[in-house]
């Protein structure tokens, strides 16, 4: 029987939840890296036992951790004690060295002046679909890095910041590459998203990037609501069978593009509010998408204290509230952008984690929900591995 492994990053450590395909009884391991902010953990599609993790701290900076045994043990690639007498010579300890390429350059600062790029942390790790040693890192201040040696060293793909980077301005949550999606049919095409900058696409493996924000409207956030960059994109998702069809949770608005980001149209439809952070696509139904509406940009909790996932089976516009098993009163949590995921079992499971440390699973595509675990530290990210 298939097995499910849920990788949960929280504000105070990482947790790994496992269950069989029924997804009823869960075992929880952790906290791994107790006390550290674990922004994101993600397994390699090419080797599920290879997991990359971003571990950060206001005191000690960035650490990259890697597991080669499905999360049982971890090491900092190229700098762990067992590497001291490695065949590659003395370890350089560069798995956490994220240095911008060339002239560091500047971006727009809060006061309208230009401000130099400063690396702060890795928000998102996206392993290659085919090579366990290759992965991308989305970082704050916004940039994308790539490793081809299993995380021992990272090199920036600097042309992203040339896509009008001087106009990017951090929002209240910082300015980070938080979404990286590799086109499963064309690995040279990669989509990324940056809060308060927008969505971008490369078609040549990261050598050049272009903004893909036409159709986004930010009338309350930007002086020019149709600006080419500057939109606060919270998340993008796609279905692997149709990588040209993108769904977006913008700051406000649910958007859809049918031409790889060339043009976007709003599909918020009958949602009670179209503000939110995550968006996901059902693994078997490319037109079935999920969002978690939040009251507003000023009130980061669900409307009326009711935690409701909304599902559209029509690719947007027509939405239904999914409430069975979710708290329907006095609930004032948020679900962050990287904290929702789906599995690939025949009956698609949907998962999300909340800022009050509860991780929910729906084993039936959203019809009903159960808490896998409660009272963890605030959940920053949720990823799911379906293990055959």
């Amino acid at each position: 029987m298939s097995k499910i492994r849920v990788l949960v990053g929280t504000k105070k450590g990482a947790f790994i939840c496992t269950a069989d395909g029924t997804r009823r009884n869960w075992e929880i391991s952790g906290p791994h890296f107790a006390g550290w902010e674990m922004y994101h953990l993600k397994g390699s599609p090419a080797d599920p036992n290879r997991i990359y993790a971003s571990q950060t701290s206001g005191w000690f900076g960035q650490i990259i951790q890697r597991s080669d045994d499905g999360g049982k043990t971890w090491s900092t690639p190229g700098s762990s004690p067992e590497d001291l007498k490695g065949p590659e010579g003395f370890p350089k300890g560069e798995s956490n060295k994220f240095v911008y390429e060339g002239e560091t350059g500047t971006h727009m600062w809060y006061d309208g002046t230009q401000h130099p790029w400063e690396f702060k942390r890795v928000w998102h790790l996206e392993p290659s679909l085919t090579d366990p040693d290759t992965a991308y890192a989305g970082v704050e201040d916004a940039a994308i890095f790539k490793t081809t040696d299993g995380g021992k060293t990272w090199k920036e793909l600097p042309s992203l910041r040339q896509a009008k980077g001087h106009l990017w301005q951090p929002g209240a949550g910082g300015m980070a590459v938080h979404t990286i999606i590799i086109d499963p049919k064309n690995p040279k095409r990669i989509y990324i998203a940056i809060s308060a900058a927008g969505a971008f696409r490369t078609d040549d493996g990261g050598q050049t990037w272009k903004p893909i924000n036409r159709g986004l409207k930010s009338q309350y956030e930007l002086p020019d609501p149709d600006a080419e960059v500057g939109h606060c994109v919270h998340r993008i998702a796609l279905h692997p069978s149709r990588p040209d069809v993108l769904f977006m949770q913008k700051h406000w608005d649910i958007m859809r593009s049918d031409n790889a980001g060339g043009e976007w149209k709003e599909v918020s439809g009958n949602l009670p509010t179209d503000f939110g952070f995550p968006i996901e696509v059902h693994f078997h139904e490319p037109e079935t998408i999920y969002v978690v509406p939040i009251t507003s940009d000023s009130l980061h909790y669900p409307p009326d204290g009711k935690l409701r996932v909304y599902r559209s089976k029509t690719g947007g516009n027509e939405w239904e509230a999914l409430t069975k098993g979710l708290p329907q009163k006095d609930c004032y949590v948020n679900v962050l952008r990287d904290a929702m995921a789906v599995d690939t079992l025949d009956e698609c499971g949907v998962y999300f984690g909340t800022t009050n440390g509860t991780v929910y699973c729906s084993p039936d595509g959203g019809d009903s929900w159960n808490a896998i675990v409660r009272d963890l530290p605030g959940v920053l990210s949720v990823e799911v591995q379906t293990l055959k």
């Binding site: 006390g35 550290w36 701290s57 206001g58 005191w59 000690f60 900076g61 960035q62 650490i63 900092t76 190229g78 700098s79 762990s80 004690p81 590497d83 001291l84 003395f90 370890p91 350089k92 300890g93 560069e94 956490n96 060295k97 240095v99």
Partner: protein, 98 residues
């Protein structure tokens, strides 16, 4: 022989218990201690000082014989009590406040 006391999270990262002992030839400035520490425990690189600039991270403090050396030049020589191992060199995570 230099004795170094690391904060909890860096001890875990370096996979050490208690104090770290380093062999560093005298005379010994702060930078030489950090160089030796990072050479023996590469996982600590970038956590105490920046990879590129080698500047101390903002919320790291260095305590030497009950004095705060965080703002001292890193080429300043450490006192004999540290050099001979009588007193430890303390790497400290600054108070978070709040």
């Amino acid at each position: 022989m230099i004795r170094v006391v690391l904060p909890f999270h860096l001890r875990n990262l370096a996979r050490v218990d208690g104090e770290v002992v380093l062999e560093v030839p005298a005379p010994i400035p702060v930078a030489a201690v950090l160089d030796a520490l990072e050479a023996k425990y590469p996982a600590l690189r970038g956590t105490i000082r920046d990879h590129g600039t080698l500047k101390r991270r903002p919320f790291i403090r260095f305590f030497v014989c009950k004095e705060d050396w965080s703002l001292e030049p890193t080429d300043k020589l450490l006192p004999e009590e540290i050099v001979c191992g009588k007193e430890p060199f303390l790497v400290v995570g600054a108070m978070a406040g709040g």
